[in-house]
């Protein structure tokens, strides 16, 4: 089961970074990419429209020039005369023509816009000279010719194939029936627009640009491939400034268009730019890559710094944790190598302070503990003590006082163990020796005491805290036997049970009430030294071996008492972290 509080601080920091930082970066990145993309598309579109509008203006200018020529020719009386006159000989025609220079002049004047001006006449006597042509049967059957005649003077625009030329070719042309105000017709005018100029105008745009009529037919293009093709596009749609996606020969294009209205009957034309998708997307894609790179760098950068930051935090906490661990094992002089005044720094200062206080308290306790020994060791030279005991001992020996000798010997042993003890675990055998000496002395004192020590497990390698058993035995003698008239008996049993070492001390004395047992093990110190002894022993056991060990007392009044000292098996030997 996943729990947030179970995560390590480092993982928490990284997780919160993901939530707090990664998501905004991602959103920001996405927004940036979309924005850049739109921006790039819009700016390309804008540029394309600028170009298209410019080209449109130029083309309209060209066509307007053609229209103005057409208008002038419409009302040209001399032209009408020349075209309607019945010539008797080519010479006559030649002479007549040579006086008329207007069309030549227009061609020169508008050479940029106009390639050729042609007039088709039904006058059979006309002399063909590259301007005037006979309207042959073939010509008359052409759609544009029929339309021009039908429209009776309206301008039309169409692609005209000029078969009269040596190199016949198509030209975008103005076509108009020439007639006077009395409706007298005198020819059909065709003005071929200047192909080269148109091409150069369209070439000024960045992409393939087409002139398309309202049926979708490509009238003109700066690229031959498109000429004569028909687009089945709803032309209104290409006018949208977002462009229009169009597939041509398995190639994707974005199509932009402007409306190009000409003067005339069929006035609806469109100027269309075909932009290959891959080209228009080149810039947005570059932008996209750039934005993605930036997002990645931002993410990696912040990940890196989060890593460093969280490492520093978790490292600091780790140091503190280790320091606290050390302190809990008794290393109070520890210097915690942590700087900084953040919470961790302050915590470490407090921990240091706490360790100092513990150390001071501990020293105080130790000092008080030491006092007992100091009384004996400092005020009384141990050499003097033991030498004197030996003198008494030997005096007794000399005087054949066996009991005195024995008592002094045992007292000497007890005293030696008391003085030499440093509180560290000693061999259980040695502890039993001490208890034996103690019981022997008590036996001399009370005269009616018997005891038995039964060891039911191998104790050769067992070490225990010193003076664990003696206070219990002392208690048994005082509380159990001292008031008893007949002989007392103390049985000490040492055995292993599960993973515990039990030292049981049993007496056949007057027993204890429940209240008495409770008060023996209770916290309150009031008076009696033997009671303090048991309480003290219990505390030492719990402190050294752990809370699950200690002393268990079973008793009923008049039925003896059994005290079990419960230790782990095997009991620990090293002092380690305990006072």
């Amino acid at each position: 089961m996943f729990k947030f509080q179970d995560l390590k601080i480092r993982e928490k920091l990284i997780l919160s970074f993901l939530v707090v930082s990664f998501i905004p970066i991602l959103v920001l990145g996405a927004v940036t990419i979309i924005h850049f993309r739109n921006f790039a598309l819009n700016s390309s579109a804008k540029e394309i429209y600028n170009e298209l509008n410019f080209a449109k203006f130029k083309i309209i200018e060209m066509t307007n020039e053609a229209v103005s020529i057409a208008n002038k020719l419409m009302i040209d009386q001399r032209l009408k005369e020349i075209l309607l006159y019945r010539y008797k000989s080519p010479l006559e025609a030649y002479l007549k023509y040579s006086q008329y220079k207007d069309i030549e002049n227009y061609k020169t004047l508008y050479a940029n816009s106009i390639y050729r001006i042609r007039i088709y006449s039904e006058n059979p006597t006309i002399l063909e000279n590259g301007v005037f042509y006979r309207a042959t049967k073939k010509i008359k059957e052409k759609d544009w010719y029929k339309l021009a005649v039908n429209l009776n003077g309206f301008i039309i625009w169409d692609l005209v194939r000029q078969d009269e030329d040596i190199y016949s070719d198509y030209y975008f042309s103005l076509i108009r029936l020439l007639r006077d105000v009395y409706n007298e017709r005198f020819g059909v005018l065709v003005i071929n627009l200047n192909k080269l100029e148109m091409k150069s105008i369209l070439n000024h745009t960045s992409y393939d640009t087409l002139l398309v009529n309202s049926d979708g037919l490509v009238i003109f293009s700066n690229k031959e491939d498109f000429m004569g093709n028909t687009f089945d596009i709803d032309l209104q749609r290409i006018l949208s400034d977002k462009g229009y996606t169009y597939d041509l020969n398995n190639k994707k294009y974005l199509v932009f268009g402007v409306y190009l209205p000409l003067t005339g009957y069929n006035k609806d034309f469109y100027l269309v730019s075909m932009v290959p998708m891959e080209i228009i997307m080149r810039e947005p894609k570059r932008m996209q890559r750039f934005a993605l790179t930036m997002v990645f760098i931002a993410f990696a950068g912040s990940m890196f710094f989060t890593g460093i930051f969280s490492r520093s935090v978790s490292r600091r906490i780790g140091i503190l944790n280790k320091a606290v661990d050390e302190i809990s094992h008794g290393n109070w002089d520890l210097d915690i190598p942590l700087q900084g005044r953040d919470e961790i720094g302050r915590l470490s200062e407090n921990v240091k302070m706490m360790a100092k206080n513990i150390k001071r308290l501990n020293e105080l306790v130790m000092k008080q503990k030491d006092m007992k020994f100091k009384v004996l060791t400092n005020q009384l030279n141990p050499h003097f003590l033991f030498n004197t005991l030996e003198t008494i001992h030997m005096m007794a020996v000399c005087n054949e006082q066996k009991e005195i000798a024995d008592m002094v010997l045992k007292l000497g042993k007890i005293l030696r163990k008391t003085i030499e003890s440093k509180g560290t675990p000693i061999r259980l055998e040695s502890e039993i020796e001490l208890v034996k000496s103690y019981l022997e002395i008590q036996k001399y004192r009370l005269g009616r005491l018997n005891y038995d020590i039964e060891i039911l497990t191998d104790i050769s390698e067992i070490y225990v805290l010193p003076f664990l058993i003696q206070p219990i035995v002392e208690n048994s003698i005082i509380h159990g036997l001292e008031n008893k008239k007949d002989g007392g008996f103390i049985k000490i049993k040492i055995f292993k049970e599960d993973k515990r070492l039990i030292i049981s001390v049993e007496d056949n004395g007057i027993g204890m009430s429940k209240e008495k047992i409770e008060s023996l093990l209770s916290d309150s110190f009031n008076g009696e030294s033997s009671k303090i002894g048991i309480r003290n022993t219990l505390e030492r056991i719990k402190l050294f071996y752990g809370e699950e060990y200690g002393i268990k007392i079973e008793s009923s009044e008049d039925n003896g008492t059994r005290v079990d000292i419960i230790l782990p098996y095997p009991p620990r030997r090293e002092m380690g972290d305990v006072l």
């Binding site: 005991l389 001992h393 030997m394 005096m395 010997l409």
Partner: protein, 131 residues
């Protein structure tokens, strides 16, 4: 045939007691002399040529360790038991380096003394056999 024992202790009661505390003869020893200070002891070592010296580590004049190092100068074979009231580490260390066989704490437990004497006896016997 008993092994000869010299007892060196400044207290007469203790010298007396030591004689009585164990039965030396049964253990194969015989007390041939007593000394109440180091100088006397050294003198008696030369005169009596004992196999074992029981020496109190604290004596007036010349203390036990000095006495032992003097003895070791001429008699490296003599077995030595030291008696002490309170064992101090430096003393014990020096005693071992001087080839002291045992180190008995006061008040002297007769059982311990007996055990030590038995060990020394066996040691002496082995040496005699090998010689």
């Amino acid at each position: 045939m008993y092994y000869k024992v010299l007892i060196a202790d400044d207290e007469p009661v203790i010298r007396q007691g030591l004689k009585k505390i164990v039965n030396w003869n049964i253990l194969g020893f015989k007390i041939v002399g007593e000394a109440e200070n180091g100088i006397e002891a050294l003198d008696k070592v030369h005169k009596l040529d004992p196999d074992l010296c029981v020496i109190d580590i604290r004596m007036p004049g010349m203390d036990g360790l000095e006495l032992i190092s003097e003895i070791r100068k001429s008699k490296s074979e003599i077995k030595i038991i030291i008696l002490t009231g309170y064992p101090e580490f430096e003393y014990a260390q020096k005693a071992i380096s001087l080839g002291v066989q045992s180190y008995i704490l006061k008040p002297v437990d007769p059982q311990i003394l007996k055990d030590e004497l038995t060990k020394i006896y066996e040691d002496l016997e082995r040496k005699k056999f090998l010689a």
